[in-house]
């Protein structure tokens, strides 16, 4: 069943690409990967660990046909091959992984859509469908500066779902609604639960007051994301945030801040997150910084890095609050046309605090409440500039990416 879904999605992506090429409409493509060494001290159950991995290996594209009336967007992700056991990420959680970031599915995004304009473009309506991102929250961390995924990945984004998304744009405001399946993937080869389609929904309002500046507020109601059969509790999620990406003082600059809240089981559990990040260019260097404070549910573990999926009950053993400062720099060592090779180094200082009661003890798992991580390696990207996953139809007009010619001195 899983293989069938995967073949269907891959086939769809291939057909879209061929259609676009045959109809001689615009086709763009991209590829990338990051070779990274990460050291974390301490890891769960104590000690220091260093791992070399290739993360975020992707191939994607976008295009259109029927004179541009139909667009498509696709991205394949091969982390199921390169990091089947996840990537060392203290604080990370989700899909049965803990303190490791889970691999994404092979068909990360395969969306098809259409848009129509009225009144000289004052009004734009759009419809999109496929496997991708429901209208909720902020950008996929894969498209952001830090290699390290934030702890709030599962509070601030909803991804890899079978989704139908409708849009209506009026001048600088876009409202979106989406229907999708609530269950999250069980493995990299897992397709979205067709039988669960429509059991979850989301709404997002986006505002673009000036070029390069945007705000969003969104909400989602997701049924039992951790239970493939759909039996479980709703997650009720809220996200608000702002994003700036434009020239400041002649330098391409980026700022983002978001706040998210997830409530589960009729309010039995509530988790908050605040995240802010920024980046700017200094010559061929891109410096970036992220601050994050996110609550994480603590579950009983199967091993240092795994929790049971699906869970057997609705118990937590506590809640932790992760406060993380991440500072990094990447250096455009080599650039040719649309290809860039960037060595990078990135470090995080982390404090793990316990909030509320419960038997979870930070020292039981980590031996202390302060953790550090250091990552270094090289990013390779082809045609990646300005790509933002999960933004469809008229939202791509407001991507706010800084023109490529401004990126390097």
């Amino acid at each position: 069943m899983i293989t069938t879904r995967l073949v269907l999605l891959s086939w769809t992506a291939t057909v879209l690409l061929v259609q676009s090429v045959a109809s001689q409409t615009t086709v763009g493509w991209m590829a990338g990967a990051i070779a990274v060494s990460t050291t974390v001290d301490p890891i769960p159950e104590g000690g220091r660990l260093t791992e070399w991995r290739v993360v975020q290996p992707i191939v994607g594209g976008h295009g259109g046909f029927l004179d541009g009336r139909i667009w498509w967007k696709a991205m394949l992700n091969f982390e199921g091959v390169t990091i089947p056991s996840g990537e060392l990420t203290p604080g990370g959680f989700g899909e049965g992984f803990v303190d490791r970031r889970h691999p994404h599915t092979y068909a990360h995004e395969v969306m098809v859509g259409t848009t129509a304009e009225w009144d000289g473009g004052t009004w734009v309506a759009g419809l999109a469908a496929g496997k991708g991102f429901p209208a909720f929250g902020s950008d996929d961390p894969m498209g952001r500066d830090p290699v390290r995924f934030p702890v709030n990945h599962h509070w601030a984004q909803v991804l890899e779902r079978l989704v139908i998304l409708g849009q209506l744009r009026y001048r600088q405001a876009v409202i979106e609604g989406s229907l999708f399946n609530g269950d999250e993937p069980e493995s990299p080869a897992d397709g979205p639960g067709l039988d669960r389609f429509g059991d979850s929904w989301s709404l997002r309002l986006s505002l673009f007051p000036i070029d390069g500046v945007e705000f969003q507020a969104s909400g989602a109601r997701i049924l039992a994301p951790e239970h493939p059969e759909g039996d479980g509790h709703y997650q009720e999620m809220v996200s608000v945030g702002g994003r700036l990406e434009r020239l400041i003082g002649g330098r391409p600059s980026y700022l983002m801040a978001e706040w998210a809240r997830t409530s589960e089981a009729d309010g039995a559990f509530t988790f908050y997150s605040f995240l802010g990040e920024s980046a700017t260019h200094l010559g061929r260097h891109r410096l970036y910084y992220r601050f994050e404070r996110t609550d994480r549910p603590e579950e009983e573990r199967l091993s240092a890095f795994r929790t049971p999926r699906p869970p057997v009950d609705d118990h937590l053993i506590g809640t932790t609050r992760w406060t993380i400062h991440t500072l990094g720099n990447r250096f455009a060592a080599w650039r040719h046309q649309n290809t860039v090779v960037e060595p990078f180094v990135e470090g995080s200082l982390i404090h793990v605090g316990k909030i509320g009661e419960g038997v979870f003890s930070t020292r039981d798992y980590y031996s202390r409440d302060r953790i550090w991580s250091l990552s270094w390696g090289v990013r390779i990207g082809i045609g990646m500039m300005g790509h933002r996953m999960g933004r469809y139809g008229s939202l791509t007009r407001s991507a706010g990416s800084v023109p490529e010619e401004h990126i390097h001195d």
């Binding site: 159950e45 104590g46 239970h227 493939p228 059969e229 039996d231 479980g232 509790h233 589960e264 089981a265 009729d266 039995a268 559990f269 009983e300 573990r301 199967l302 091993s303 049971p308 999926r309 699906p310 869970p311 057997v312 009950d313 609705d314 118990h315 937590l316 053993i317 506590g318 809640t319 509320g356 009661e357 419960g358 038997v359 003890s361 020292r363 039981d364 798992y365 031996s367």
Partner: protein
Amino acid sequence: MTRWGRYLRSATGLLIASVGCVTSPQGGAGDSGFALTIVGGDHQVAQMGQRLPQSYIVRATLDGDPLPNREITWTVAVGSGSVDPVTSVTDQDGLAETTHTLGLEVGAQEVRATIADLAQPPQVTFVTQVELLPAPPRVVSLPIPANYGIHDTFVRDGVAFVSAWNSGIIILDVGGGGRGGTPEAPVHISTIVTEAAPLQTPSAHNAWWFHNPVSNERRYLFVGQEGPGTIGANSSGDIHVLDVSDLENPVEVAFFTVPGAGAHNFWMDEARQVLYAAFYNGGVVALDVSGVLAGDLADRLLAQTIPGGQGSTAVWGVMLAGGSLYASDMISGLWRLDPVSLVPTGGGFNVPERFGSDLWIAGSYAYTGTWGNREGTLGNAIKIWELGEAGPALVDSVLIPGIRTVSDLQVSPDGRLLIASAEGAEGSGIYVYRLSEPTKPQLAGLALVGTGIHTVTLAEVMGKLYAFGAKNPAAPALEIYDLSGFVP
């Protein structure tokens, strides 16, 4: 000894090591003059998972003389087993020892002993040949809907009540329900989805079929609802009461709530018509369940206790034995309570290094499971208690390698077998121990189950002893094992 003298000794040790003479099955020499020899325990033959009957014993010497008061480090070199203790100190004769609980690998398993704090420590290696344990035959694996799966099974008179979370209570004829069912081929009688209120989901976790000796009725089934919560802080879920006079048409008739707490395991004093229920942070409650039960049973509350105090109580289970009620608290250990007032009369705060789980009392001994990770120590132990005048006294522990939780345990009606379910890692499954010596359970059988067994229930059906295991998702099932091969 001068600095140069120490260098000379170290250099000598390196030279010895370089020619491959450091380690041998019989003895080893390291820093010049220090030596370690095996005195006893080497070359045993045992079955996997067993604690070896003979300790490993070494003698440490310096220039041929016994070396007292030196720390010996014991390390499992091959296999997933464990040693206890991991360090020991030599006595006046230079002797030190440890015990080895074998891992689950067949073939050679090895433990290495070294003298601590030496640059080139001498070491010796103990080798034990490990044989396969017999697995109890599984007679059936009955799939349960994947709505959190199956949590517990109550078996009485050949009728099994499967607590299947949001699928409710599944009633099966396994040999006494009059539908032709057997443990090998259970026959479905009925299913009732218990009320979700006051929560979002039914979350049926456990049950007890009340055989009332006063009224001679077999009318009520008590069901524990295990709702969302944070262990050690809060919990939720009611006791739901079903009228199962007609097993084919059960009806929910009553409920009982402890505000801010949720139900877990039950026990009954059926003669007194009292239901005891563990309520996690709500402690233990005693309910009068005599007569007709209907609606809210709030006025049936006889007593409640929070034995470890607020913030230090999460009671997993209760059991009545020998005129006392025993409660296993995840945080504060094993308690003895007065069965009427529920006032603690002994025990408590007696398992500081691990979280507790289930309990079982057999004669003057108690067995408790352990759970999760506490201060870095996994719940891989069965605690063995002697029940005296002063309350439960810990006498020994059995370690199970390759697991993180002993989720349930029970002693057979004849007192000869102890059975435990285990979760959390590669050793998950059902463990069968012989209780020839009640304080020294000997592992006799093991059925490994990859996703773990959440609970196990023993029941005699049609003259044979069976274990009813609740296999965890993703493919939950009621797994029934024939234990008659383990009964002498």
